[in-house]
Symmetry: C2
Subunit: 362 residues, 2 copies
DNA sequence: CATTATGCTGAAAGCGTTTACAATCCGCAA
DNA sequence: TTGCGGATTGTAAACGCTTTCAGCATAATG
């Protein structure tokens, strides 16, 4: 039989730390042992006070709490992680996306993570050229799960993430059929709304989609939704009504310079792949003396701050960027805390915001 | 004398892991023990292959490397952190700053951290209202150091960070006198440049500074540099030449609406606290029929993307946001890797970018 | 040949937690 | 008295790594 009183204490050993005077400087961290001895309990009890208070008598708990407060003790996350295999840190990997989108998304994700008691480790995907080989950009092993944003098929973030065997969610691509929780924005719905809005004052044959990079999933979705919506009105879209480029105002400008010539006197409409393209179009138009919204009706995409700063104010399809971040974190945490949860694809709605750039003046 | 051969091996114990067949599913992580036994060496040797390859014979190292490659072994960062007391994770705490600034800064910081072999844990400062009490927003204990951005005196991020005893750098405030590595942007120099540029075509008495929030350090610095630069030209600035508001276009608009009335027919100049304010001013001006740059010469601050998207294009003082992020990480890593390094304040230059909004047409 | 240096390797001691298990103390029923 | 169960606490075993120390060849030196 085991009897603690018989066995000689195995010598005070180590942890000569702060407990005895030791006033001499330099002690930096206080460990659970320090708290335990100061409170005259075992380290197990201290741990319980923190993690399972109901297992400890009120008197003891109070004493321990007091010591914790006084010493400023905080558990060492490495030791905790080693044993619990979790760190309450979430990874989020983003491609090199456009400015405002990036920060809004991150803001949403960070706020949500914080409110769920997690921290956020970010990692922008390095540009293609400077990708080291087995760079191991993500801190697998340290994080409890990871949210990756996949904007085009060339990204290998997803492979990396899945290889890590960590709970994973993908943003901007529906992979729930492949067993990955996903979060997508309703690009199709927003596009349809935008098209229908334009169709109210512009003939389908004079409607154009000026998109982002062709390899980009968003751009693809918006383009085919555009074709579908135009077709739904009874007009089979010509090939020249849809173009791809990139997400810059320069591309919008370039497109407009070419097409403004070709276009006759009639009214026509443009749905841009994002707000910046729209602004490029707007500028080329004003350069060419084409009035907005009189001759050209324009709708952007994303509803960035730009849209309200420009004149005429830009009608645009609002994408809830912060909500994308927040929802992806929620989805990820759900998966972490219940590995058996059903694989889900969350759809986030978009909505048309009508401003001056697209409605004929009264 | 110690002789390993005399002591009986203390029983194979634990780590029944992957080594023996065990084909049955479920093994997730491979530990250093697995690698060691597969390579028929001790765990110490495996560790050395990874951390001090020169201590291991080439033959052994090759064998171990091969096993590592095959098994995909990666050291457990918790165990490493527990013993080395470092995680190669850096914290960066940002207030709720404006969109584009935020993302550029983070992008710079992330790229630099990655290239130095660190990861980045972000944390936006929660808005004032929802600050829990001992929230402990930052993952102290997990990170090796922290960069905090302090935009006004009310922030308590710094106190928290210093209380953590972690290596710390502050952005946007010079605290090197208080023993904290700092990183500041040359607001004064940029402001001076902007003022002098305007002074070339506008009398000092007709120059205005439309600043951000009065409690904001940047805004303060820019305002007093404005006063100083104007004074240096020989004109003592009137009180109404400097105003504070916030960093929005609405404030710029409001300011302009009031002041455009008061101003007579003469030419006047505005240096805005940031680009967005400048755009507000620009819009109010165009509303009021005041032509830019003919009657109003305008210079912004920050050189965000906005500045080139608006017409006329906005002259502005460029602040190297990405470089601020990168430099702060460099400074932080230097401190982490050499705690004795001299306390430093890094100054980042600003530079005036002249576009159409501020130069009289030929 | 005896000694010493050198290169390589292994054993074991932690690092600071959590948690299974054992032990004690107590009240209460048998 | 005895035994049982619940409440509370303590002991010790992990968790996976780094690093000191010691052991042992083998090479270099006297």
């Amino acid at each position: 039989m085991y009897d603690a009183r018989i066995m000689p204490k195995p010598a005070p050993k180590k942890h000569l730390s702060a407990k005895e005077g030791e006033s001499a400087g330099g002690r930096v961290t206080v460990s659970i042992h320090d708290v335990a001895s100061a409170a005259r309990v075992s380290i197990a009890t201290v741990s319980r006070v923190i993690n399972n208070p109901h297992l400890v008598s009120a008197r003891t708990a109070a004493r321990v709490q007091e010591v914790i407060r006084k010493t400023g003790y905080a558990p060492n996350p490495f030791a905790q992680g080693l044993i619990t295999r979790s760190s309450r840190v979430l990874g989020i990997a983003l491609p090199d996306i456009h400015g405002e989108f990036y920060s809004e998304l991150l803001r949403g994700a960070d706020a949500e993570a914080r409110s769920l008691g997690y921290h956020l480790l970010v990692s922008s995907e390095p540009r293609r050229e400077d990708r080291g080989p087995a760079n191991g950009s993500l801190a697998f092993g340290l994080i409890d799960g990871i949210a990756v944003m996949i904007t085009d098929a060339a990204s290998n973030l997803l492979k990396e993430a899945k290889g890590s065997l960590l709970p994973t969610v993908v943003l901007d691509t529906d992979l729930h059929a492949k067993g990955v929780d996903s979060l997508v924005v309703d690009n199709a719905g927003g596009t349809r709304e935008g098209v229908n809005h334009l169709l109210a004052s512009v003939p389908a044959s004079s409607l154009y989609f000026v998109g982002g990079p062709e390899e980009n999933f968003d751009a693809q979705q918006r383009a085919s939704a555009f074709r579908a919506a135009v077709a739904a009105s009874g007009w089979k879209p010509r090939a020249d009504q849809v173009s791809f480029g990139d997400y810059t105002s320069e591309w919008g400008e370039r497109w407009a310079e070419e097409h403004l010539k070709a276009t006759g006197k009639g009214v026509f409409g443009v749905l841009a792949g994002n707000d910046e393209i729209a602004i490029g179009v707007m500028q080329a138009a004003s350069q060419a003396g084409v009035r907005i919204p009189d001759q050209l009706r324009l709708v952007g995409f994303d509803d960035t701050r730009l849209a309200t700063l420009i004149r005429p104010r830009l009608s645009t399809v609002r994408v809830p960027m912060a909500e994308v971040g927040a929802a992806s974190i929620r989805l990820l945490v759900r998966r972490i805390e219940d590995r058996e949860a059903e694989i889900t694809c969350v759809h986030l709605p978009t909505s048309l915001v009508v401003r001056e750039s697209s409605v004929p003046r009264a």
